[in-house]
């Protein structure tokens, strides 16, 4: 029992970062109605960006977050506007293939440039811990948890309260109506792709202090993120947040009882159960 609480708390910290990755994925899905296959590769790219920025300038990953979020937002915008959109000719299946192609280019580019060696960064506070309800949580994980919730909160307010957010929600459901009020739909698509990519950059900054980077690292996260999006309801914002936290806890608790390396089994058992019994997801009714 005294192991369960730390496992749950640890799971919540991981889950919050899953949630940020999943928010990016669900934002793009909600508006473009496609699964962005390049999402994991962009996360990997962002982790390398954090790593090399730290190696070159010694900048702290948390301090790099605003810089990388803006940089990756621009990258995402440009990818959608200059690659995905021109090659897709407005057909969803083409968008899917375009993002898959981008993923392959990024993955193999990373492998060619940086080899498949595992890299980590050393931070002076990496082994500091904070005590929460009698359990000890690594300081970087605690920071990551609150930062992730903060990012989700900012994104939520932006989607609910700003003109851009209203336009994003409008385009998600009614493209023709959106055009007729003067919304440039292609611009909104690119903004969503940019915001989704910025989410991934933010997640990378919160992740690297306690994690590693290799050219394959994105896959583990994008599978969890995809499961999160399905669990929460495709395109649902609260679904991605709750789903991410839930899967983090499920993974940690499953790891506790089945052994660390089998923790992800819990995630995929949940995935199958959701598909069997509630294919629209927890918040699917709202998203539909």
């Amino acid at each position: 029992m005294e192991l369960l609480l730390p496992a749950v708390l640890n799971g919540l910290t991981t889950g919050a970062i899953y949630a940020v990755v999943a928010l990016g994925l669900t934002l793009i899905y909600g508006v473009l109605h496609i699964v962005n296959f390049a999402h994991g590769s962009l996360l990997m790219l962002a982790l390398y960006a954090v790593y090399f920025l730290h190696a070159a300038t010694g900048i702290d990953p948390y301090a790099a977050l605003p810089i990388l979020a803006v940089g990756f937002f621009a990258l995402g915008y440009v990818i959608q506007r200059l690659v995905v959109q021109p090659v897709s000719h407005g057909k969803d299946q083409n968008i899917l293939m375009a993002t898959l192609g981008i993923a392959i280019v990024i993955d193999n580019g990373a492998l060619a440039l940086w080899s498949s060696n595992t890299r980590t960064i050393d931070l002076p506070y990496a082994f500091d811990v904070v005590e929460v309800l009698g359990a000890f949580i690594p300081l970087p994980k605690a920071i990551g948890f609150f930062a992730a919730l903060g990012i989700a909160g900012v994104l939520w307010i932006a989607i609910q309260r700003t003109d851009l957010g209203r336009a994003i929600r409008a385009v998600a459901k009614e493209r023709q109506g959106a055009r007729l009020v003067g919304i440039r739909v292609e611009h909104i698509y690119a903004m969503c792709f940019g915001l989704g990519t910025a989410c991934v950059a933010a997640a990378a900054c919160l992740l690297l202090p306690t994690f590693y980077v290799t050219p394959q690292v994105g896959y583990a996260f994008v599978l969890v993120a995809f499961t999160t999006v399905v669990l929460g309801g495709m395109g649902s914002f609260p679904g991605a947040l709750v789903g991410g936290l839930l899967l983090g806890v499920v993974e940690a608790v499953a790891g506790l009882y089945l052994g660390e390396s089998l923790g992800q089994i819990g995630i995929f058992v949940i995935f199958i159960l959701v598909l069997l019994f509630r294919p629209t997801g927890l918040f699917g009714a709202k998203a539909a």
Binding site: D163, R166, A167, R169, A170, A172, K173, E174, Q176, G177, A178, R179, L180, V181, G182, I183, R184
Partner: protein, 247 residues
Amino acid sequence: MVLPNDWRVPMAEALLTVEDVEAGYGPVTVLRGVSMQVAAGEVVAVLGSNGVGKSTLNNTLSGIVPARAGRVRFDGADITGRDPAAIVAAGLIQVPEGRRVFPNLTVRDNLLLGAYRRGGRTRRQTLERVVETFPRLQERFSQLAGTLSGGEQQMLAIGRGLMADPKLLILDEPSLGLSPLLVEEMFQLIDRIAAAGLAVVIVEQNVVQSLTLAARGYVLEQGVFAMAGAAGDLLADPRLRATYLGL
């Protein structure tokens, strides 16, 4: 007698001038040389049955369907080939057939998006004015638009159009799918909006009510205007009465 070529406004400067516009989809040509004019503050009816190209005409004017030939001038500028956002910014607003409100947004957010191209400056005052015109929307302010009745959605769509502070409002089939009582109410509302000095183009199958409201009318048949003229003349025209009213 109504002449087919009588499409010019008998005044010097028209708000909207459409000249020999052709448009279509892929190999299909829908509009085969359409010309019309609307003066500032004028109410004009565009009539025609299903599939003659009414919505294609609207979407060409809104920049959603590109014109293959011809010119569209609006408010002193050539808007042929401009994108929908630029045309909205110029003040030509279409309230589309089927309303096209944002079902997942509240009534308030739908209205606010109507002013998307104008920014926040005078948005609050416009919102108050629109809500005054449609008190029913006030009651539903924080309700999702998808939960409104058909008539309420139509009001919301018109209200959203008014939020853009238009110079010309194109209403595509505003009476479609409404009960006879609501149709009556809708035409009264349009009359009130037009009385405030806004130019309105009503695109309708509902011939009698549209022509009662409008000063002039155009009758679209097979992608060209078959008839055009003053509303009273059109209503009295034996061919129109035979074709559209079965009299």
